[in-house]
Assembly symmetry: C2
């Protein structure tokens, strides 16, 4: 079973076919960065059209059991998530509404301070806000997973502790391996995984040691060491693949409508666009390479199978439905 | 089994308890008259709060099987509908979105011309529009029932013929019994019922012979005669109960935001508000009176059970899910 914990591609029939070629059974796709509720609904609509147009390649994913259906019918189950809480605006009632529409992950922040928490690019991290505490409780109730990939450290640790259900960092790597601002320090990963949460390893070059030049061996060794440290059951893949996106999209991701100045995020003035992917993960057809690379680290077949998909499967099964009393 | 095909009450714990006292297993409730999409979402949210607050009295109804669950647990299943297509605005993609959120009925018009069809108060009826044809097809696909209660005759007949699935008049009576503008002529009822559709009998005084003075005997005799004429399997109850609503609400229903002038609809300058209900149907506790009245007409127990709920149950079971190929 192969599950990717995050992608934001410029979706097309070509990419849907590549998902099938790569044997990807399920993928968590971002459908909102800075969109408000009404705009996010347009993105749900766009996916509904794709589900109608490509019924033999993809299907809507709501529950882990949909992954079984996808596997039985040779399709990829698409699960939705937001990288920012902008779709719920200032309205806690929208948490249940977006869950009903199919959202399964929501980041509490995207780089900046939000109404709920502090993003990883702010100078000061004040932790979870008053509204943030209420929204985490509501997300727990309905089964919308707290994702802290782009959040600051204190906010992430507080979210892991406040949340009554496990949370996730869907796409990031350990900071000690590649000291990017977006990668996570030991105490952050520990807080998330000790509470049953998941870390999805990113193949986005800005999160890799040596960036686009990172070797498959280095990436897989890092995963093996992380498994030894935090337990393999908390780990999965979250490639952050942004395939076929024009550079205007990375600008939208970074600046949204919150600034009139350019913000380069993890890039720079000399390197403002999407970086080239490492040669061992160009697109969805390359999941087999990661799987082979993991096998060569000496991890057992069971451990590799967990990282490639079974750990996300179990996490989906336990966390997407209403909280049991 | 008791199912009411339409209500628009000023909902409260009191009314939820009365639903239980009256043995109402399911009710189709209006959650939009003139609301746009975003406003309609606020109404879904309001109901989500009620489902949380009164879990022992009510539950969200999505499928006929939810009525079984409601009966097993002593609750009333609440099914949602719109009296106007305003929630989908000019966007066909919103048909699936509102169905996902729980909408199960949508009127193509509310008295006036809409983007889809002609309402019963217009001087001329031009039938189903270009967008209307597309939206009916989409409603058929996802399982959102076309309701023509407030539509003009030609539009209704065309909708019954164009729709690949049965349609409904959730709340109206035969025009030959009570010649109100909102009641339906023979050829309209015939077009709807011949195509497997349903007519729900209204207890709203403006739709009754002798209005608030209408007797239970007259109402039930009318139902028995209608059953002889069109077949009992196409008939149910749709009381149009607007309990505890202030008169400002009937004004909102009639004028929305489409006019600055007052429009009295079925009322008049001297009688602008909600009319008093007939003494035999004051509120949800009185469903037993209708059932008794129907039994006295000489209809069989099976026929009465069909009208009181089983016919709607079958209709819900066949028409709320995606269209089978």
């Amino acid at each position: 079973m192969r599950i990717d914990g995050l992608q934001y591609a410029n979706w097309s029939e070509k990419i849907f076919r590549q998902l099938r070629e790569g044997g990807v059974d399920a993928v968590h796709v971002t459908i909102a960065y800075h969109e408000n509720f009404r705009e996010t609904v347009l993105n749900f609509e766009k996916w509904n059209r794709w589900f109608e147009q490509y019924p033999d390649l993809i299907m809507k994913g709501l529950w882990a059991s949909d992954i079984d259906t996808a596997r039985e019918t040779g399709r990829t189950a698409i699960f939705f998530g937001f990288q920012n809480p902008s779709p719920i605006e200032d309205n806690i009632g929208l948490v249940e509404i977006v869950h009903t529409l199919g959202a399964r992950f929501m980041q509490l922040t995207y780089n900046n301070q939000s109404l709920l928490a502090t993003g990883c690019y702010e100078a000061e991290d004040t932790g979870i806000t008053r509204m943030g505490r209420q929204v985490i409780k509501e997300m727990n109730r309905v089964g919308l997973v707290v994702d802290m990939s782009h959040s600051a450290d204190r906010s992430t640790i507080e979210a892991a502790e406040l949340s009554e259900r496990p949370i996730a960092i869907t796409h990031a790597n350990p900071h000690e391996w590649a000291p990017a601002l977006r990668n996570k320090r030991d105490d952050v990963i520990r807080a998330v995984t000790e509470n049953g949460g998941m870390l999805g390893f990113s193949a986005y070059p800005h999160h890799l040691k040596a960036k686009s030049e990172c070797t498959l061996e280095s990436f897989c060794e890092m995963i093996a060491r992380t498994a030894e440290k935090y337990g393999v059951q908390s780990l999965g893949i979250g490639t952050d693949l942004c395939q076929d996106q024009p550079d205007s999209v990375v600008e939208w991701m970074r600046v949204g409508r919150w600034t009139k100045q350019i913000d380069y995020g993890e890039g720079s003035a000399s390197n403002p666009g999407f970086p080239p992917m490492p040669e061992w993960f160009r697109d969805n057809r390359d999941f087999g390479q990661i799987e082979n690379g993991l096998q060569k680290t000496g991890m057992s077949d069971e451990e590799v199978a967990g990282i490639m998909g079974l750990n996300w499967y179990r996490f989906f099964a336990e966390n997407f439905g209403p909280m049991q009393p």
